[in-house]
Amino acid sequence: MKHFRNVGLALAATLVVSQAGAQELTGTLKNIKDTGAITLGFRDSSIPFSYLDDNQKPVGFAMDICYKIVDAVKKELKLDKLEVKLNPVTSATRIPLMANGTIDLECGSTTNNAERQKQVAFTNTHFLTASRYVFKKSSGLKSIEDLKGKTVVSTAGTTNIKQLTEANVAKGLGANIIPAKDHAEAFLMVETDRAVAFVMDDILLASLVAGSKAPGDYVISKDAFSKPEPYGIMLRKDDAPFKKVVDAATAALYTSGEGEKIYNKWFMEKVPPKGLNLNTPISAELKNEFAKPTDSPDPEAYK
């Protein structure tokens, strides 16, 4: 089929020589131009990346970035009007909906790794998260070594608990590792002193601390169990023209310093709906990445 279409295109090109230069649109860009609409996939509770506010409207750090991409696409296609459709996705539906063309961009907190890149593409990284641990100030922990022989909790079925188990063996900590059902339960174990520390993605820890009864009692560690892993906005694989537009838009956003402004809005100020403040200043690694945007899935690329 594709072959025939190419032959047809070649014929058409020779017939209409005068139109040479007007580039043929393909893939997502063509689709957006034809329908006059772009569909963004959003998550309903990935605070502060992509979630519903009190008006049931999707907002967040990733949503702000996506709207900037939409502006760039509109400009690229020279459209007067571009309708933005919003479609909720979950971790289970984001791949099928991306593959079958329901959504064009997934604006959330999806980790960009090599294995996933076999299935989808990612634009420039918008966040970096590492496996760290939260503990009570009163417990006086200073480094991972201080966890020796203590009870440490992490959430079952995550890569974090895997990293913790490995570090426990590698560093000979002899810590007692207990798996918890979910993040809230794991945090509760630290709150009730059943465990001294909870190992998880640092940004998730920050939102748990911000939402706790006494945010001032907790500290998130400086040292980490893993290298920072990138979050990226997801798009369809093998769609180079669209990816080029999206990459250019995000690169321009990050290098201009506007990216950091949007970051501060969601991570350093109160965010709706409950007015939580995550108080997470931009990391040195992410600052470097914003200066030199990359879509690499390799944690080594973000030093």
Partner: protein
């Protein structure tokens, strides 16, 4: 569809370090079968007792059976598991609640008991119908022979009733297996749960759920075949399910 099919994914190592992705799904299947078997034992035992209660001459027994069935069958299974798992420990005295929460394998036991009680209501209704379908003369004949109520049920009514309801019981057993999938919401990583975590790690969502579907189909096909043999073996000649 812009999708990168990769059926070889099952033989690639999973990131949890527990072998391949296939091993991950098979360990989920094992947990599904364990949960379903325990739930089915509970459903049969409790369902039989409640079903019999509903056919006894005693009004109190009838009402107890009636309340049991209506309580368990009129609430969605998902809500029931939530109640057992999250609400019950909070309503107990603090120490007992804490003990319950810290039990090892709490999701497994909660799922097996929760699904078992839910299915017991269905078994009870069917057993009641099975006993009800027997000619009235059978009960009377048992009494006339001088059998006590217990003996009447044990030697006359139940052996007949259970054989009559064996085909619908087969589908209830299949339902029990499928219903265990609801338990992912309380953190039981059974077959559906493993398929989910496989797609989370590898992004091969269609392969993961295709494999889970096939495993469910195979398991249920084995159960159906085994039950057919059992039905033929215990069939009463000349009766509905007989030849």
């Amino acid at each position: 569809m812009n999708y990168n099919w990769n059926w070889k994914i099952f033989f690639e190592p999973n990131p949890m370090g527990t072998g391949t992705y296939l091993d991950m799904l098979l360990s989920g299947l094992a947990l599904t079968i364990k949960t379903a078997l325990l739930a089915w034992v509970i459903a049969l035992a409790v369902g039989s007792i409640v079903g019999v209660l509903r056919t006894l001459p005693s009004r109190g027994a009838y009402w107890f059976g009636f309340c049991w069935v209506e309580f368990f069958r009129n609430m969605p299974l998902l809500v029931q598991l939530f109640l057992w798992f999250f609400v019950l420990p909070e309503m107990l005295p603090r120490a007992a609640g804490l003990w319950l929460k810290q039990l090892p394998n709490a999701p497994f036991w909660t799922a097996a008991i929760g699904v078992g009680l839910f299915m017991s209501a269905r078994v009870a209704v069917q057993l009641q119908a099975g006993i009800g379908s027997l000619p009235r003369g059978q009960r009377m004949a048992a009494t006339a022979l001088g059998l006590t109520t217990v003996q009447g049920y044990r030697y006359v009514l139940l052996p007949m009733a259970f054989r009559i309801i064996l085909p619908p019981l087969t589908s209830e057993f299949l339902n029990t297996i499928k219903n265990t999938a609801v338990a992912i919401t309380i953190g039981l990583i059974e077959l559906t749960g493993q398929a989910r975590s496989m797609q989370e790690f590898s992004f091969q969502v269609f392969e993961a759920f295709t494999a889970a579907t096939i495993l469910y189909l195979l398991t249920n096909a084995i159960v159906v075949t085994a039950m057919r043999f059992l039905e033929r073996y215990v069939a009463i000649p000349g009766y509905i399910t007989g030849k």
